[in-house]
């Protein structure tokens, strides 16, 4: 047993930190103020990232996290899921909004990597893919989406409205969840890759948000939008046993990634707060917490919770890397990291008082950015529901 990062991942962490520190952090405030403006500097970052991924089996991007490799000799692997977690953590230390809108690193890329067949993998390689699940009347209960996909010869025809699509107006492709037959329930839900410019797909608006303003959030309307049947990702059969579970599997891979975002963002706040308070801190990691100053006790407790979030996230990714079922652990990581990140960033503003509240520092921005991390990819409450059902052995109809 060992809970340290191997040399390889430490190197990757170092590289990602350099990118975050030199390229993301300096433009962080700029795009917080200029909402909806495309951060053109990211094209360079994306190329660097492509380069980092090209040389190695284990890359850092969104698409990398879903590759499943099981070692046949029974040895343990620290692979692509862990690499993705480590890389994303550092990038979000730089800026979470910018990470979310990195070209070719969308959650849609993770979905394609998870469920696409080899031909599709090849066809969408190098494309930037966004993810469209949420609808105006369907949030956490994603099984009840109303967007339909009707088979018409060699095509599917999509109809419905999707909201909260990260980079929906910037991506090359949007992965859309739609149902083949509303009466067949969750098992009829499939994901479809819709390329930008497809007739019948129309951008309705971009949201004005509390935080992560660098990352555009689009609402898109599909009106008789025809796509070729080969753009249905994965299997077109409706399997009542397993269908929806397959779609949901994507989340087992992406939840640790969002947890990693929370870990990186919280670290930014903690680091800067320590820096600003350095003259008021003694922190010897020895004096009982009852005997240190109130601010030191806060910082110790935040660091302990932060470290737990970091390790739980690595644990979930490590399980995925070693082909262990990690649904519960992915939700535990997301629940813990999501709430801890929000608490830490808010507390750091409080500790730094007017310095923390002012736009002269990034602390107030991070405290706004953090809120979404306890909401998207499954809210705090949804994660607790998943963990509770697993622990108690309850179905979704028993524990609603």
């Amino acid at each position: 047993m060992l809970l340290e990062l191997p040399k390889k991942l430490q190197n990757l962490q170092g590289m990602a930190y350099q990118v975050a520190n030199e390229m993301l952090r300096p433009i962080s405030r700029k795009y917080d103020l200029a909402e909806h403006e495309y951060p053109k500097e990211l094209d360079m970052v994306a190329s660097i990232l492509d380069g980092m991924n090209a040389g190695d089996d284990d890359g850092v991007g969104a698409g990398e996290a879903s590759k499943k490799k099981k070692r046949t000799d029974g040895s343990i692997s620290n692979g692509s899921n862990m690499a993705a977690v480590v890389g994303i953590q550092e990038f979000c230390w730089g800026d979470t909004g910018l990470l979310l809108t990195l070209p070719r690193q969308g959650l849609g890329n993770a979905a394609i990597a998870a469920v696409a067949n080899p031909e599709q993998l090849k066809r969408f390689k190098g494309k930037w893919a966004a993810m469209a699940i949420t609808e105006p009347n369907t949030g956490s209960d994603s099984a009840s989406i109303r967007t339909t996909a009707k088979k018409d010869g060699d095509h599917y025809v999509l109809n419905g409205e999707k909201i909260f699509i990260t980079s929906g107006a910037r991506a090359d492709v949007i992965v859309v969840w739609a149902t083949l037959d509303k009466d067949l329930g969750r098992s009829a839900i499939k994901s479809f890759a819709v390329e930008r410019g497809t007739p019948g797909m129309e951008l309705i608006r971009l949201e004005h948000k509390l935080g992560i303003k660098a990352s555009d959030t689009a609402a898109v309307m599909f009106t008789d939008c025809r796509i070729h049947k080969d753009n249905l990702l994965g299997n077109e059969e409706i399997n009542v046993e397993k269908g929806f579970a397959g779609v949901m599997e994507t989340f087992d891979n992406t939840r640790p990634l969002v947890a990693a975002m929370a870990v990186g963002l919280a670290k930014a706040s903690l680091d800067q707060t320590r820096h600003l308070l350095k003259n008021s801190l003694k922190q010897d990691y020895s004096t009982p917490i009852t005997n240190v100053s109130a601010v030191e006790a806060e910082l110790y407790r935040m660091e302990a919770d932060w470290e737990a979030s970091r390790l739980l996230t690595l644990k979930a990714a490590w399980m995925a890397d070693n082909a262990m079922p990690n649904s519960k652990e992915a939700s535990i990581a997301k629940a813990k990291a999501g709430r801890v990140c929000n608490q830490i960033t808010l507390k750091c503003v409080e500790l730094c008082a007017s310095v923390g509240y002012s736009e002269n520092e990034l602390l107030e921005k991070w405290a706004r950015d953090s809120k979404i991390l306890d909401i998207f990819e499954g809210t705090q409450q949804i994660q607790q529901l998943i963990v509770a059902r697993r622990l108690l052995g309850k179905s979704s109809s028993e524990l609603k």
């Binding site: 047993m1 060992l2 809970l3 340290e4 990062l5 191997p6 040399k7 991942l9 343990i76 692997s77 620290n78 862990m82 990691y285 020895s286 004096t287 009982p288 917490i289 009852t290 005997n291 110790y300 407790r301 660091e303 302990a304 919770d305 470290e307 737990a308 979030s309 390790l311 739980l312 690595l314 644990k315 490590w318 652990e329 535990i332 629940a335 813990k336 409450q381 607790q384 529901l385 963990v387 509770a388 059902r389 622990l391 108690l392 052995g393 309850k394 028993e398 524990l399 609603k400």
Partner: protein, 438 residues
């Protein structure tokens, strides 16, 4: 504070204790119990020890078993235990489930580990693994990770019994980790004798806001030895130990650990029944002008007091993991069986989310403890990690303890269920210093 009229009246009432009136009022038993407690908590000498600590083998250099290869050779993040550690885990798990848990209620009530449990525990051979091969034990490796697993599994059965079982092993671990050749030669073989050596580590003191770095117990260098003065608390098995490791502030040097035989003149002990951990028989040690020889100072110049404290804190974290798991398992079963409003209470989110949070925070406690302990085993600095683990475990253990009772409602408040005992035991995690050593 001066006596007010009520106080004076109470004092008068107290003076009638010997009158027959108290029998009429049915107060006799209560008053006698109070008197009994008063006597029991008085300090007394522990002169009865007949054991002679003698060198069976004379080591020239201290025996320092190395860490298992499964840890030292590893450079990858890996949460798996080695095969040996899994075997150990399985056997302790069975012991805890089949024997410790059923005995826990009485052990708490009688403030004592039942004889058959102590016997079975020593048959597990834990002290053999704690004593290095060179001194006749079976310890070929020094693995804090294995110790963590053992503490966790024992505490799944009962934390009080776990502390009583682990206190002597902690002393053996500390002697193996820090002791000089002559200290090891003198004391470690005694852990293998037929009547097992009871020993325990004393760090805490009876001070609100106690800080293990600012000890009131003092050690003065005098001639060819030391003189100890002070009082220690939270000492497991205090009244029955033959050997103590005692933390004292050494003049001009700072806190150090001293090896003290319990029959040393000036050392007296007293029971100190506390909120929980009853089976561990917590007590106090009074040190009045206790003269020790120079060899009683644990270790050499490389002795690291902070690391010693870290090993103890991580021991309490490990215990908290076991009891937290016990609470999780127990509340899952209870909430699935208990019905209200026509269905199991676990079908309500307000109940189910409390259970989920026990699971989430237990996992949080676990990864922090694992990281600190594995760093220790690999020989990396682990002060920061141990501190953070102890902070988190201290907070979350109590949160889990109190929610365990809450989930059972009024039933949890009675001794029909073990959650009230776990509640009392979990209060110790943030407080305890010393007592055990991984």
């Amino acid at each position: 504070m001066s006596r007010d009229p009520i106080g004076i009246a109470l004092a008068a009432l107290n003076s009638i204790a010997s009158s027959p009136v108290i029998d009429k009022l049915g107060l006799r038993e209560t008053i006698e119990k109070t008197i009994y407690q008063g006597t029991k908590t008085g300090f007394k000498a522990l002169g009865a020890t007949s054991r002679q600590f003698k060198n069976v083998t004379n080591l020239v250099t201290p025996a320092r078993p190395s860490a298992p290869v499964s840890t030292t050779s590893k450079n990858l993040f890996d949460l798996n235990l080695s095969e040996e550690q899994q075997l150990m885990q399985d056997s302790i798990q069975r012991f805890a489930k089949d024997l410790i848990r059923p005995a826990a209620l009485d052990a708490d009530k009688n403030a004592k580990v039942p004889q058959d449990i102590s016997t079975q525990a020593s048959e597990l051979g834990l002290s053999y693994f704690a004593v290095p091969e060179e001194l006749g034990g079976a310890g070929t490796e020094r693995s804090p990770v294995t110790s963590m697993v053992v503490a966790e599994e024992l505490a799944y059965g009962d934390m009080g019994i776990a502390v009583a079982t682990l206190a002597p092993i902690g002393v053996a671990n500390a002697l193996t980790h820090w002791g000089t050749a002559s200290q090891q030669s003198k004391y470690l073989p005694a852990f293998l004798e037929e009547s097992p050596l009871l020993a325990s580590i004393a760090v805490a003191e009876s001070e609100p806001l106690f800080d293990a770095n600012l000890l009131k117990t003092t050690a003065k260098s005098v001639g060819n030895g030391f003189i100890l003065q002070g009082e220690k608390s939270l000492v497991p098995l205090a009244e029955s130990c033959e050997l103590f490791l005692i933390a004292a502030n050494l003049e001009n040097k700072g806190p150090r650990i001293f090896i003290v035989e319990s029959n040393t003149e000036g050392l007296t002990v007293a029971a100190d029944p506390s909120m929980g951990l009853k089976a561990a028989q917590l007590g106090k040690i009074n040190l009045n002008n206790v003269k020790l020889e120079s060899d009683s100072l644990l270790g050499e110049s490389d002795f690291d007091y902070q690391a010693f404290i870290n090993f103890s804190r991580l021991g309490w974290c490990s215990l908290a993991l076991g009891t937290a798991k016990a609470i999780l398992d127990y509340t899952i079963t209870y909430c699935n069986e208990r019905e209200a409003f026509g269905e199991p209470i676990s079908h309500r989110q307000s109940v189910a989310f409390m259970v989920a949070n026990i699971g989430i925070e237990l996992d949080s406690m676990k990864v922090l403890t694992q990281r600190a302990v594995t760093r220790a085993e690999k020989g990396l600095d682990f002060t920061q990690e141990a501190y953070l683990a102890h902070v988190l475990c201290g907070d979350k253990a109590m949160e889990i303890g109190t929610n365990g009772v809450q989930l059972l409602g009024g039933h949890g408040f009675t001794k029909e269920h073990p959650v009230e005992r776990w509640y009392r035991d979990m209060r110790s995690i943030a407080i305890c210093e010393g007592g055990i050593h991984l």
